[in-house]
Symmetry: C2
Subunit: 208 residues, 2 copies
DNA sequence: CAAAAAGATTGAATGAATTCAATTTTTAAG
DNA sequence: CTTAAAAATTGAATTCATTCAATCTTTTTG
């Protein structure tokens, strides 16, 4: 049975993370103050820094939790993918994109992505980068699985093509969150078109 | 002949931008203070804000100048590209990457890229994003030119494939500047491998 | 040429992230 | 059960980006 201190620590962490996530969503990252987060979590400002390296770190922590959910949802698709490369990518990427704005705003995404680039060594930036890598692996795994099923030509470097698909969808997601006016449907259309040449060319002829 | 005020304005701008660029390179973005930049440029702190929206804006301005040079260098390659897709991409992308660290550190790059994502509406973030678009166009133009010369199969969507190549090289550049240990050669090797499937598949058979 | 208008400069004040020394609380040891 | 050690909390102080009202300089107008 864990001690009192460990239970209190876990509870404070949960309260701080939840208070921050709610406040970031309500008023935006820039307007949310550490003092406000601390007050809502019923801790002192100094305590906040005992749990998170800085303000950006906690945003990236919140976003990382979201990415874990995206990964879980993606795994179900990779386990039972549609037959064709184009359709499989469309479903997986659609799932990634649909899930992204359920709990987080565009502003939260772009700030978290910016912080993970600017402060790559902070604790949750490392976590976020690791999750990004796992998302990338998931796309490569999808292509590899389709290749084993005969949907992708033998000899195709599935890691390389998976990385191409993933880097493109990630780059386009960055463009999406930078542009408040861009819709999810517009994003999906653009990415669908971008993916088509490679998706078509790596597909086995018999399945086209 | 421009007035005294216009000449003074241009001169101050140049001094401020140069002071900032030198200081960012010498001590790093975080350690460089607005007060220090202003002092070196022989202006007041308030004057700094008359020229740049904020601290991040001037870093992105400095980096944008660098991207303009990268574009100019790339144009020469697009005007007279190597014959094969793989070789042409290798030369163009190599030029982009080689040029990037001549005047700017990895820290400057990742901070500028982060700021352009986090504050997409600030003046020089808009400029930077526009230049990014032109770099992307340059890669698509290269593929289109090779297609006209018979090096790329007809019917291939050169805009889509150009965007795929560009988004991948950009995403991998972000990974590169996030990792202080990664070398330029390692980066080029990774990107070369990632590009190979698509580069090979879009190539006309006669030129392989 | 003088006065008014426009543009720009200035640097102290403001605000908020972050730090840190003092204090409190919990856990471990005797 | 008491004391020492370890861990954590606290909130005022510090730091620096940014703002803004006062002032200065240049340009325009009469």
């Amino acid at each position: 049975m864990t001690g009192l201190r460990a239970r209190q620590k876990a509870d404070r962490n949960r309260r701080i993370l939840q208070a921050a996530t709610i406040l970031f969503r309500e008023v935006g990252y820039d307007s949310a103050r550490i003092e406000d987060i601390a007050e809502r979590a019923e801790v002192s400002v100094g305590t906040f820094y005992n749990y998170y390296q800085n303000k950006g770190d906690i945003l990236v922590a919140a976003v990382s939790m979201e990415v874990e959910e995206v990964l879980a949802a993606g795994k179900a698709i990779v386990d039972s993918p549609p037959e064709t490369v184009g359709e499989a990518l469309k479903v997986l990427i659609g799932q990634y994109y649909d899930h992204s704005l359920v709990y987080l705003s565009k502003e939260m995404w772009r700030t978290a992505m910016a912080i993970s680039i600017q402060q790559p060594e902070s604790p949750f930036s490392r976590r976020y980068t690791e999750l990004d890598g796992r998302l990338c692996d998931q796309v490569s795994t999808l292509i590899a699985k389709l290749q084993r099923r005969g949907g992708v030509m033998p000899g195709i470097d599935t890691a390389a093509t998976g990385q191409m698909f993933f880097n493109n969808l990630n780059m386009m997601f960055i463009e999406f969150v930078k542009d408040e006016a861009m819709t999810l449907d517009a994003l999906k259309d653009i990415v669908s078109r971008q993916n088509r040449p490679l998706a078509t060319l790596i597909s086995s002829p018999k399945l086209q």
